[in-house]
Point group: C2
Chain length 208, copies 2
DNA sequence: TTTAATTTTGCACGGTCGTGCTATCTTGTC
DNA sequence: GACAAGATAGCACGACCGTGCAAAATTAAA
């Protein structure tokens, strides 16, 4: 699958990384679709060709930007969120990791993938398909953890795991949009409160 | 405030409306920012000047498109949602009206204002400010209805109304994004279930 | 039917877009 | 230090962008 020969020279690799960093920043604010070769070049004080030569099409810039953002998400959300013990603790851990990643402003325009979801939910193409896959894997992660928590007797065994995953995703995503819109971290706190409420509610209905 | 002289001729008014209809459709799918005079002209089989002359700048196209979408939202969500009696019933009514508006595909790209929220949450300017105001008025509407329900003894009087408004908005917004992304109305149903859960939970803690 | 006002078109402008091609650096290897 | 290869710059292209302006087509009132 991987058909790319890696850039050989160190300065090249450095520029390549700098371009992707700027691309992630810009895309989180203005959207992946309004990424522009000229804009990136200006942002980095470099010629348009200096940017373009590293990728050989705009498509590739977009693809690699998404991949790079995926690595950031893995490092900043998934890895820390998965450290706690499986079950309820890990559900809290994952949601908290996401909310903290919003709160810390890892991307200046809020969660890169939330931006992508809203931008490409109705636009068919490769980006749409990638968003589908990413979103499914996030929901599945939560869903699996709900199932585990049920098996451990921590949550109502009659609850629908997919429904619970949805109800946990909803407040953290809205916290993302609103905290960015109003530049107000209190919406992250609302997200935390909502997550606690959802989990506590499902926990209170378990068989004891 | 209104400085515009209305178009005098009937064909002009009709074209004006047709342009706004196409603009709402397109913007809900691809975003307000990627609206383009040429694109609209092509979509309507009309010359670029024929579109441009009706507004006298791109800014005005965007402004009027937002206003037109506001009227649609009022007609399709607020008016039907506000018919039920105030309190819990109206909270259900508003959320259901929103979910139904998603389900019916009033805009082909999902809720126009959810799209706008995600697109402009991090981009300062007049659109950002408009989104702030619209979002606040939606949340305030729900919050006021929660307060009324509390006064009627239908909801836990110790609950934070703003928090509850947030917890109701979250699932309906996520239902919007996911049902569009996967073209699957089951996510609207997930939204309905979540709304019922939030209200039922707050109702079960009321003093009886 | 003439006439005046209002749509609508055609055309031009400077600017940016994505993308090639060629030439000039710059770096790492012998 | 020479040299091959990679990195960056410069320039050109056709396409589309937003916006003006004058000409043509259409409508409504006289």
């Amino acid at each position: 699958m991987r058909d790319e020969r890696p850039p050989r020279r160190s300065d090249g690799a450095q520029t390549h990384a700098a371009i992707l960093a700027a691309a992630m920043r810009l895309a989180s604010i203005e959207g992946l679709g309004s990424l522009t070769v000229g804009r990136l070049a200006r942002e980095l004080g470099v010629s348009k060709s200096g940017v373009f030569a590293h990728f050989r099409s705009k498509q590739r810039i977009q693809q690699e930007t998404i991949e790079a953002a995926g690595e950031v998400f893995e490092r900043e959300v998934l890895r820390p969120g998965l450290t706690r013990a499986e079950g309820i603790a890990r559900l809290h851990g994952l949601c908290e990791a996401y909310l903290s990643y919003i709160e810390r402003g890892v991307f200046p325009g809020g969660c890169f993938f939330a931006q992508l979801l809203a931008e490409y939910d109705a636009q068919p193409g490769p980006v749409h398909d990638q968003v589908c896959a990413d979103q499914r894997s996030w929901l599945s992660l939560l869903e699996g953890e709900v199932r585990t928590a049920q098996q451990h007797g921590e949550l109502d065994p009659d609850a629908d795991p997919a429904q619970l995953a949805f109800e946990l995703s909803a407040p953290v995503e809205l916290a993302n949009y609103l905290s960015v819109l109003y530049q107000d971290p209190r919406f992250v706190e609302r997200g935390r409160t909502a997550v606690r409420a959802v989990i506590a509610n499902a926990a209170s209905r378990r068989r004891r």
